[in-house]
Amino acid sequence: MRNITAQAASAAAVAAGSDVAVEVRGVCKMYNEVEALRGIDLDFPAGKLTTLLGPSGCGKTTLLKIIAGLIPATSGEIRVNGQTVTGPGPERAFVFQDFALMPWATVMRNVAFGLELKGMGKDERQSIARKYIAEVGLSGFESKYPHELSGGMRQRVGLARAFAVNADVLLLDEPFSAVDEQNRRKFQEDLLELVEKEKKTFIFVTHSIEEAVYCSDRIVILSRRPGRIAQIIEPEIDRTASPDAIRRDQGYLDTVEEIWQGLKRYVD
């Protein structure tokens, strides 16, 4: 485990340079009178999974949506692969906390929707979608409608839709919060496999410390509103071990404990 303090973090971030997928520079966000984010400087390394963790209402969703280009920052800028973000782009894909599946469309059409919007032909986009439906473990459900699926399966559809557009950066806002505990663990394991396989940059928001430590290469802890970077932790867990071994690993447990000690002061 590597613990980087806030000051050192921004220094380390700027130095990292070459393989940075997303750069956040001096981002502030005001919702009218409410200051949600203050002076966020952050780099997201390419091909890694970075988690945003913090107390409720600290601005995690806000930061993720600013990176996605769904809402504008009040000041500061975001660069993805060196390009300044002005809105949503093909190199980023968002996975929504509430799934955001079209209830009137089948799993197939939902997964292929990003490609449909790009104007890709039906056969081509369906064969791509079929591949990702299989990858998230939903083969055989192509012609089902969302209301026929469980919460976990719906979120897999959301994930497949994000994969299908072949973006470099995937933004996930609490993707498992509506999924029950057992499915959640299975889903986390599958996600790690996909991270390994897809070689994409993942930015992940979660409430769960265990989930953050288990899944992440790097954990960014935000302070209470207005959100600022409180701490950056790199768990450095050996992922070649089995999932159950990881969950019993002393380094894993220590990291969870350390983050909890840091976050405890925000809970009252």
Partner: protein, 276 residues
């Protein structure tokens, strides 16, 4: 958000024995049974009321049924509806296009909402039927007046429903479309309209029902043609069974049209509702 809830179905239906299996079977057909029973009861009360009789001008159910069959077979219904449906179809088509279009524009733009919504809110509250005779002053007694009567009654409810539906389109789906770089046109046609379609179609059904009232009123108040003429004529010669048969035919035609509209909606826009 809104949609995960509907998947779980009724929380009460937990069958666990033979008896509950029977009840479940029954309850599957229960709505249909109740509907039939209520229609049957209605006809029975009608028949009894006609036999008392509550008024010399009130025929029994069986007399009306006989008149209905005769008029269907001798082609007088066909001829009447050929005329009545003309202004209705034109009026509803115009109202649907203008209404849904305006509703969508108002739902998307605060300025259009501010400009147009109050007009239709007033129009919907106004007793439009009372204005129908006024149209005759301006447009005479032809097809134009009758079409206008249909539009006056049908348009407000279609506009207002379309506007409410679009305004309340699921923001999370809209954000999803935006995040996948959907343009404005795609956002409207692929997300907002399908999402709003249940409410838009509810407006269309209400508009159609109002349009029926409009065209019948026009035929009774402006010029006796079509089914309105049939009613007026049979009343004037005291063929009350025939007159009631004509009234019943209107209810029948409008119910069937509404059912057809609903079937069209499920088929084209919301296929997922057909399955369950």
């Amino acid at each position: 958000m809104s949609f995960p809830v509907q998947a779980n179905g009724s929380p009460r239906a937990v069958p666990n024995s033979e008896a509950s299996f029977f009840w479940r079977k029954l309850s599957e057909h229960r709505t249909a049974l109740w509907r039939l029973a209520s229609i049957g009861l209605f006809f029975l009360v009608w028949e009894i009321a006609g036999r008392i009789p509550i008024s010399f001008a009130f025929p029994t159910f069986l007399e009306t049924l006989r008149a209905f069959v005769t008029m269907t077979l001798d082609g007088s219904f066909v001829a009447a509806y050929a005329e009545t449906l003309q202004p209705l179809v034109i009026g509803i088509a115009i109202s649907a296009v203008i209404g849904i279009g305006l509703g969508i524009v108002m739902g998307l733009s605060r300025f259009a909402e501010w400009l147009v919504a109050p007009v239709f809110i007033v129009l919907q509250a106004a007793p439009m039927a009372a204005l129908i005779p006024l149209i005759t002053f301006v447009y005479g007694i032809g097809l134009v007046s009758k079409t206008l009567a249909v539009i006056m009654l049908a348009l407000p409810v279609i506009v207002l429903n379309g506007y409410k539906a679009v305004r309340n389109a699921n923001p999370s789906l809209v954000a999803m479309c935006y995040s996948f770089q959907g343009n404005l046109w795609q956002r409207i046609t692929k997300i907002i309209i399908p999402d709003a379609s249940p409410v838009i179609f509810a407006g269309l059904r209400l508009g159609l029902a109002a349009g029926f009232i409009g065209v019948i009123l026009a035929e009774l108040l402006i010029t006796p043609t079509g089914i309105g003429d049939l009613i007026t004529y049979h009343r004037s010669v005291a063929n009350y069974a025939e007159m009631y048969a004509a009234v019943v035919s209107i209810i029948l035609v409008s119910t069937l049209t509404l059912a057809a509209l609903e079937a069209f909606e499920l088929r084209v826009l919301r296929p997922e509702k057909r399955k369950s």
